[in-house]
Symmetry: C3
Subunit: 369 residues, 3 copies
Amino acid sequence: MPVLLAPDQALSLPDLLSAANTVGLDYRLICSREDSMPMIAGIGSLLSAGAHEISFLSNPKLSSQLEASQAAAIILREQDWQAYQAADHSDAPAWCVVVCSQPYLMYALLAQWFDHHRVMGLSRGIHPTAVLAEDAQIGEGVSIGPFTVIEAGVRIGAGTRIGSGCSIGPGASIGRDGIVYARVTLYHNVTIGDRTILHSGVVLGADGFGLAPNPFGEAGAWAKIAQLGGVVLGDDVEIGANTTVDRGAIEDTVIGNGVKLDNQIMIGHNCRVGDHTAIAACVGIAGSTHIGQRCTIGGAALLSGHLVIGDDVHISGGTSVTSNVLEPGRYTGVFPFFRHDLWQRNAAVIAQLSQLRKRLRSLEKTDNT
Amino acid sequence: MPVLLAPDQALSLPDLLSAANTVGLDYRLICSREDSMPMIAGIGSLLSAGAHEISFLSNPKLSSQLEASQAAAIILREQDWQAYQAADHSDAPAWCVVVCSQPYLMYALLAQWFDHHRVMGLSRGIHPTAVLAEDAQIGEGVSIGPFTVIEAGVRIGAGTRIGSGCSIGPGASIGRDGIVYARVTLYHNVTIGDRTILHSGVVLGADGFGLAPNPFGEAGAWAKIAQLGGVVLGDDVEIGANTTVDRGAIEDTVIGNGVKLDNQIMIGHNCRVGDHTAIAACVGIAGSTHIGQRCTIGGAALLSGHLVIGDDVHISGGTSVTSNVLEPGRYTGVFPFFRHDLWQRNAAVIAQLSQLRKRLRSLEKTDNT
Amino acid sequence: MPVLLAPDQALSLPDLLSAANTVGLDYRLICSREDSMPMIAGIGSLLSAGAHEISFLSNPKLSSQLEASQAAAIILREQDWQAYQAADHSDAPAWCVVVCSQPYLMYALLAQWFDHHRVMGLSRGIHPTAVLAEDAQIGEGVSIGPFTVIEAGVRIGAGTRIGSGCSIGPGASIGRDGIVYARVTLYHNVTIGDRTILHSGVVLGADGFGLAPNPFGEAGAWAKIAQLGGVVLGDDVEIGANTTVDRGAIEDTVIGNGVKLDNQIMIGHNCRVGDHTAIAACVGIAGSTHIGQRCTIGGAALLSGHLVIGDDVHISGGTSVTSNVLEPGRYTGVFPFFRHDLWQRNAAVIAQLSQLRKRLRSLEKTDNT
């Protein structure tokens, strides 16, 4: 599992490999019964793949699973295949062998092929219930799902697919060959590059959290700072479910090319995220923080506002970053966890830490006298 | 408050108790005017319940509120009723007495009855604006709200209610007697058991965060690992508003029977959550982590990926779990909070902790010489 | 940038200032060519504003940017204008000068004017695809977007605008002059004051997380406590994208007047948030916690349940609050972050903290003997 194609859609192993191998990887096919290549309808792990599925060995530690695998074919490296043959197996394997220098990359290409096949099977065209402004510019081959609203001045590039129940605000622009899943909101004037993937529940361009004390209101009352900037996304960006990116106060909030954002991330107004930075789920980035290129930020990390994070910085999950980080490297600030009783004991000492240091200093003085 | 029934829908106290008491709890009814049982239209706390509402005493510490209560009836234990009578009250209470060994459970049954009554009053049937694929299999008594889209191959079990603006993707399956509130997304091939409750904004089956370095792209560019697995939910699962559960890479992401998830939780791809585990709001669980049965996880806790958490493990809110937890028990890792000035003093010492230990060791050596 | 008005909509500088200045701020206009006042179509920062945009100097540290600014007009304080003149500039500035005692407030008023202008340009009225219950009470000048569902008994005050794809549940009530963006859900009986702004993905009134052990189920099974209370919002509340506020168990969850909530906040059942309290993104507040007036809570802070937080309490971002905070002031509990290797060294010592204290005490005793 999963079986991804109906039986009559299954491809022969050589056909599938050549269809999926868009980058031209070298590989060699060894089947004991070369006259009858297996038909492949899906992809699975070594232990779950069945008679019409292909599998792969990318981690040599799992090579002990090869013998029992019921897969129709297995992708593995030359050295792993030789090691398998060198071991004492009673028979040649029932599975076909795909010897390849990069099994994980071949798997990734196959997975992309199967998913692309699924997407291509979805209905196309503009659903009759969709509401399109008269002046919207819709490119060739665009699909728009039921109950999606496309407001005035919107532009959508060729080949982009928009699911059901989306709201694309006035003046928004989406590049070509993108996928926007169901129930995504783009506020007015949000601009998105090519080949972007937006998952359900994404909200781009809601107002940033801009407040100032209201000198004419009750004590403590806030005045709203209207948010006039936009959100600009580069090409090849993917954004996970229920993630939000707020519009800028005056300037735009900017997400660079190739940036990957997981689910339930919050990116505040006027932030900038550099090209190819990847951010895991539940991260919060407060307003006006600028993050460099090729960074990674672990899940549920928190970045304060108005910070500068340089290129190639890696923040561990759960870390609260409260000051600039300009040097590349990995940064962490996670309080260790314990059995509850042990935690209580250690947490209590933390309240006395500066006292503890004083006592240590005073002892050191005594000792030196 | 809240008053839940219109005056002409109110039930007499004995009728309500017998209607709600689906599990057959023992109880005894004592009213000073037995000829005229009160009509009950709602439920309230001891101090807020009015002349047509029932209340309950489950925490004996609140028994001082009994005398002033304006409730029509109060559920309480035998011993609390006797203690009330033993105290020096001028008159018999104006409220009827429902003596019951489990007042909180009786309250829970009444609350369920009132809520069930509300749900039963909602409109039924398939709204004419809903878009249903021709081959969708819709069970008896199913309700589907306006602007909901049911894609090809979907199956929905008898009695399930789906709100407005939902998107149920191709091949998804929902069991019987479930409630899906407005604006829920199920991606393709998501499978859900019976009696499931999904709140607004839930997204099940968006792509997991699967990335690999792209050897053919710019420096730092990522290749997407297409996510081919599904999401499988057991029976009796409840999922809170805006929670997301991602689909697996190859295998499914699996949520067991009776699992309760609060709002804004993120469950990564290939996770497994065991039966009857309850997870509070804002928790993030990174990919491939397996959680046992009957666990509880407090709000905003964070679990790293590829972990194993055993059965009956209880994680305190706010804890970052970064390694396996195989033994049952309670685990905590929350940094204590302080007035800001005191925090600054202690946080500064943390940066010198390993130094501090060195100095202590060196003092100990001096002392021992 | 941003240019917010089409060229034919641009206002002359004096007209714009008097239109935006709703509170009657004093200001003085100085233009070198008073016969030809500039036409203003937008607003920008000192360095980004162009020939038809106004800018402002609120932070004197940026006064070095004045000379190079291409803005049509700049708002600044008397002392900053005099300092500019006192410096050795070859020419009078090309920009008009708006001398004003509160430049930031004048900017806020202008930004509000531009945003109000945008909103006023949106289409009005009730879209023909919206589904309205027959007994819904819709005030004068209300706008309702496509595919929005208004259930039985709903009341919407005059002038309120509701976007597309919203679900307004039975008995819900929204005050006047509010803005509800696309894809917002209000469950049944949620009540909202005047001038409220709700951003996309907000869910108000989903069930609180109420569970009790189910004595009739499997070991570990949970019984749902039906949530019968409501959610009540005061006037002038703003709620950010994908934030959720759960309904109360019996009593209501209450959000006071002027409260500002950022994105992806979770407020549990039966919480109360006092007037003018502002809460940054990703904060989680567990059930039944009461927060006072004029508090601020930083991003991703976590408040445990059943706490009391007094008035004028300020919680730093990332802090886990686990006990009552009754005294005004700022409170923090954030673990410092380090380069990963240094973190490892210090985190390891935390596991030995209580041991460390013991060793220190024993040394102190030795020393005193």
